[in-house]
Amino acid sequence: MRPPSPSIPEKEFTYGALKQNIRLDGRIPLEMRSPTITFGPELGWVECALGKTRVIAYVEGKMVKPTPERPFEGIITIHSEISPMASSEYETGRPSEEEVTITRMLDKAIKRSDAVDKESLCISAGQRVWHIRLTVHFLTDGGNMLDCACLAGIIALRHFRRPEVEVIGEDEVIHSPLERAPVPLAIHHSPYCFTFAFFPDSETSPVLDPSQLEQRLSAGLMSIALNAQKEICVLQKLGGVPQDTDEILRLVKVAVAQAKDLSDLVDAKLREDWEWRRSKVEVI
């Protein structure tokens, strides 16, 4: 069922507030909600929250035969489906337009930007490669699920460790984590996604990381996925309010600065979790 669109007073109030650069949750227009990152007991399990939006990402690995076209490369697949759990507007089965955009964008930002080195996932050429499966579950839709999912996905990939495999002659020996330390995936770079929302009134400045209401009232989104090295991986402004190129470039610069901060935060969080895990091991 399509949820009723926001009522007239809600709409007018939000537009009025945004015109004065006030957002309902007290942020300034180009401010992101600070993400909450929680690691699960397993490696590669992470829950990420941006305000009310919550997403779980889970990475698992399995050994498979590679595709004949690419015998030296591992396989990475991303599974994401917005279940009705996130919000009543999503149904199982036929994917909504938003879901298609999110899935494709995740695919482009994480998979096609070569964030994970695929060749290092090869065990023996043409025979065995790792199949890394990233599953993204959307728990609550509080607006901007894409950025949250992208963040969760990339953290999960960096958090994940696969067991070490050795090829001796014809056999593959899988070392249990107790024997040899599991190895992390070879990550080339970590793309982070930033979504800006534009509003019908051209004088209203665009906002970063729109909340659900802002997203519903927006007249177009622009998502930029980029890494801390200032490389844009995906830039997507699919229609919506027409913008000047200067405005787009300004927002790209904003995203560049945000990516730097977010990257530092993620690095710190991962280090913290790793230290914590190490301390646990020593106790045993």
Binding site: R2, P95, E97, V100, T101, T103, R104, K108, R112, S113, D114, A219, G220, M222, L226, K230, E231, I232, C233, V234, L235, Q236, K237, L238, G239, G240, V241, P242, Q243, D244, T245, I248, L249, V252, K253, V256
Partner: protein
């Protein structure tokens, strides 16, 4: 496979003999096509797309209507023979769905949908041949088909793809080039000088991006000129076929009218 082909040789020519900023041949056919209210057959080089527009008409599904504006429905079909490798694309393919959603979102701010509440505008896109720049061709074709159908729009939408080979920007890429270098598709409204759509899927440094974005915006106005001319030519040919008949009829009724 692309690495054997030189994208840009030392003399500054591309693999198909074009210069860096040179566009491919643009062919536009706006003649009437079947039942459609407006259609356009457009080709950028070897990429060819047929777009037909129906509407504004009553929506087949009432749940898809809006009480204050028209709904735009875009359906894209990619012919299985359109690429070098024969490949069947199913309608439910996420890539195609995204493609259709992109085109829909591009035209939503341009079409004056508020003039037709509770109705639907159908845009059917058939991709016949693909040689790079499929999205740009679809968007340009849709603009022309909409104009041909007489649907009110605030401006043209002209799309162009661009890429960067090491540090040199190029325009209007072929499949060969698209496979090898980072590329951007930009759709502009030439009169307002604003950008409706930007999509980039490959890694590129921020500074390079700025360069290509500005270049593509300028290329959009060149395309605009071509597209405008095609619409004018079509109108002229319509007038010239309908004109004499009208003149005769009118002439019998009223001899004094001065044409």
């Amino acid at each position: 496979m692309g690495s054997r082909i030189e994208i840009l040789n030392e003399a500054g020519f591309r693999s198909d003999g074009r210069r860096q900023h040179e566009l491919r041949d643009l062919n536009i056919d706006l003649s009437r096509h079947g039942e459609a209210d407006g259609s356009a057959l457009i080709s950028h080089g070897l990429t060819q797309v047929l777009v037909s527009v129906h509407g504004p008409r009553e929506a087949k599904m009432r749940s898809h209507t809006f009480h204050d504006r028209a709904n735009i429905n875009v359906e894209v079909t990619v012919a299985s023979f359109s690429t070098g490798e024969r490949r069947k694309r199913l309608r439910g393919d996420k890539r195609i769905l995204e493609f259709a959603a992109t085109i829909k979102a591009t035209f939503e701010p341009v079409i004056r949908t508020s003039l037709y509440p509770r109705s639907q505008i159908d845009i059917y896109i058939q991709v016949l041949q693909q040689d790079g720049g499929t999205l740009q061709t679809c968007i340009n074709g849709t603009t022309l088909a909409l104009i041909n159908a007489g649907i009110p729009m605030t401006d043209f939408v002209c799309a162009i793809s661009g890429g960067v080979h090491s540090t040199s920007p190029m325009l209007d890429l072929t499949t060969l080039e698209e496979n090898d270098i980072p590329h951007v598709t930009v759709a502009v409204m030439p009169k307002a000088k604003k950008v409706v759509l930007v999509t980039m899927e490959t890694r590129l440094h921020v500074d390079r991006f700025e360069e290509i974005l500005n270049l593509a915006r300028d290329a959009g106005s060149i395309l605009h000129r071509e597209m405008k001319e095609a619409v004018l030519n079509r109108s002229i040919s319509l007038v010239s076929t309908a004109g004499p008949a009208q003149l005769r009829e009118k002439g019998e009724d009223d001899m004094n009218v001065d044409y």
